[in-house]
Symmetry: C2
DNA sequence: TTTAGCACTTGTGAATAATAAGTGCTAAAG
DNA sequence: CTTTAGCACTTATTATTCACAAGTGCTAAA
């Protein structure tokens, strides 16, 4: 249905449009395909009828449709080797052994945004194969304490809680001992139910004000369990793209970036590097999101790059794969 | 030099311009001042010559200059009572005793941005009257440990560190004991020098691999000492203001908000609520920053509201003062 | 199947004109 | 001395027109 030359024409149009952000006319492809503009036009017409190309108005050149990008990404795109210069930058992340994981991730974001000029984001969530290693309840004043939760992967969370009544020091120590004895080694996603069904019934026997303390810890822990961290880099980069030269579009995208639900849309579900074009991104029709999941030391992280639909797909995919592989090797 | 009617004209122009964002013409003030437009024009001319008013072009109405806003803020503005509706929202922060401080601060930001439609930001920095209450070094793998620092105000910071060589468990415990014995109660801004001049010389006598461990803790601690937290709310709000209808301005301000140096510009130095108009803000000529310092439980925080120069000064100042007072009462 | 040729469409940018808002100035009135 | 009416003048804004460039679709011939 779609011949070889047509495939190549589609490929050329997508790549040219990615480079210039301008509709591509038939004449500009003549030399490359060694035929007349009329021939190219016939093929373009065909590609348009099949839904791979679009026009902005009746006599404009062609631009890729979402379907066109999708076809390009699935069948035509060639992975792009990372340039020497870029590789040099990337290696600063992984050659430096001093850098611990979270710094390496931050540095990765920085370099992605620097190289691609797109927006990058990482979100992490403590995942199931963290086990609780230690719990601490530290009194601060007579009515506040800090609860600290540490996992065997070295993730630390803390929360300051107001106690609703004054509690004796000894009680706090006792509670802390019980919690440690019963919880150490428990996978964090089982802690909640263990707290409720095993510990709550028992703790009353040993501790007087157990409800206050239990609630305090419960609150601290649930804070931990649901905690998500989101880090952005180069949020303003997307505005550099010429497609966002319209004020309303800019405002729109900026508010999207601010809103909380972005997080859900960005969260990766797949270990591979996946590409979501326009509507598929569920974020904004004018952007493409390329994302992947990374599993590191028991934390599930998602790294995503957000750019215009005419994103440099090959480059970004290669770079994300490189970073994913190297982070996982390091972790 | 500047008569009573002129003061009132300036006041009216500033307030009208704040409301509408449109230059104010002489006719529109006739009824209020019961005189002809020519009279108003004479006064306007005078105010312009003194530098309080500006024109966008030779035949436009007048808008306040920065000096005009400054005069308004210093001598003409009346504090605006918080409306019943807004007061209701504000009280949800302070009537809820469950809310601990950091949640109350976050909630405050949210409500400020909601009520004013400007951008709000808070930055905090652990300050001098935190004393170190506890240090923990927790081994995670053979080559990593987590250092945890807790202050007597309940601030907890942690950092995962890679050890450059394998270290014995006992050594870690010993180091941790020494650090605790020597550091507990020390004001955090004295910890650094104490570490270097008192502890480093001694620790070698007791611990074999002391350098590795010392460096690990030193790194963790210095991370803590310089840690600043910055929280934004309603970053996209500023774009709702009609003065940012130009794409370049929008891009400009968005990048400013992204950049790191904003933090320095925002940091408050004064306990009062202070207003920085345009250039005074050192941030962007087109914005006003209203900010104040809050001292809470040994943490110095700055709360700031960023909006266009034609910000609703009275409203914002009153609201910030209210929030500051109530947070400090709570803290 | 490819190509040359041509009529046709649309975006872009410049030039023009009409309108609305508002000023400065002058001269007279209070 | 202050206020006012009147008027010429300036500028932003918006719409209209025009010419040009880019690119298409279609037809008919190669």
């Amino acid at each position: 249905m779609i011949g070889d030359r047509q495939k190549n024409i589609l490929k050329s149009i997508v790549e040219e449009y990615i480079k210039t952000a301008r509709p591509v006319g038939s004449k500009s492809l003549c030399k490359k395909f060694k035929c007349s503009s009329a021939t190219i036009r016939n093929d373009m017409l065909n590609l348009e009828e099949l839904g791979y190309l679009e026009k902005q108005h009746i006599s404009s050149g062609r631009i890729p449709s979402e379907k066109g990008y999708r076809y390009y990404v699935d069948y035509l795109m060639e992975p792009k080797k990372i340039s020497g210069e870029d590789m040099l930058k990337l290696q600063t992340i992984f050659s430096n052994n001093e850098l611990n994981l979270s710094s390496a991730i931050e540095k990765s974001l920085e370099i992605i945004s620097d190289i691609t000029n797109y927006t990058s984001v990482v979100l992490g969530k403590a995942s199931s194969d963290n086990n609780l290693q230690k719990v601490e309840l530290i009194p601060i004043t007579e009515e506040t304490l800090v609860a600290i939760v540490i996992t065997d992967k070295g993730i630390v969370e803390n929360k300051q809680v107001n106690l609703s009544e004054r509690v004796d020091m000894g009680e706090i120590t006792k509670t802390s001992e019980i919690l440690n004895k019963m919880l150490v080694g428990t996978p964090i996603d089982e802690v909640s139910s263990k707290l409720e069904f095993e510990i709550k019934p028992i703790i009353g026997n040993y501790v007087k004000n157990y409800e206050v303390l239990y609630n305090a810890f419960y609150e601290a822990f649930s804070n931990f369990a649901t905690k998500e961290s989101v880090k952005w880099r180069g949020k303003a980069n997307i505005l550099k793209q010429p497609e966002f030269s319209n004020v309303d579009d800019v405002k729109n995208i900026v508010s999207k970036f601010e809103s909380k639900e972005v997080v859900n849309k960005i969260e990766g579900t797949d270990d591979e590097v996946k590409i979501y074009i326009g509507k598929e991104s569920e974020l904004d029709d004018n952007v493409t999101v390329i994302k992947t999941k990374i599993r590191l030391n028991g934390e599930d992280m998602s790294i995503a790059v957000i750019g215009p639909k005419r994103m440099e797909y090959g480059k970004v995919v290669t770079m994300l794969e490189y970073i994913k592989d190297n982070l996982e090797k390091k972790g």
